[in-house]
């Protein structure tokens, strides 16, 4: 629940974009696409528990 989440997402984003550039220039289009897909799924896996917790807090707070 701290700012390291944002830094982790940024790090994954930079790493994936560099990797996909390298793979693209090496002629491996599919691997580049798979790498960016894997990075995206990883980031989503990190964010989704926080979103669930956010909506639970709102429901509890406003008695929705």
């Amino acid at each position: 629940m701290n700012i390291s989440l944002i830094f982790k997402i940024a790090a994954v984003g930079i790493l994936v974009s560099v990797l996909s550039q390298v793979l693209k220039h090496a002629g491996r289009e599919e691997q580049a696409f798979l790498t960016s897909l894997a990075g995206l799924i990883l980031v989503l896996l990190w964010i989704i528990p926080y979103i669930a917790e956010l909506f639970d807090t709102i429901r509890g707070l406003f008695a929705l």
Binding site: G13, Y50, F62
Partner: protein
Amino acid sequence: MIKVALLGLAAVFLALPFKSSKPEYGTGISLAACVLILFLGVNKLEVIVASLGKIQAYLSFSEAYIQLLLKIVGITYVAELASELCRDAGYGTVANQVEMVGKLTILTMSMPVLLSLLDTIHEFLA
């Protein structure tokens, strides 16, 4: 408050390089920043809700209206967060749909209050 401001600025500056090459990470970073900022603001919100309960104790009208008011505020917040995030990602239509359904839910929830108002007026006139 300083923490919230710094958190927002840090998230924006981290998300900016991703705007052109990889927009999904930019949206991910802004979503994470929104969630963190809200968690920083939640304890302030609890104080407001608690004091609202105390205020309600002084006034005589029923508990239902305060509950309804809080529900409407909650629904507005959730709808606003979702629709602004969709608009940030560039999908204005989806954002409008989310807002539309938010308004509809609020309208349906406030119908009983309207009916009770009309009933009271009807009693006065009849």
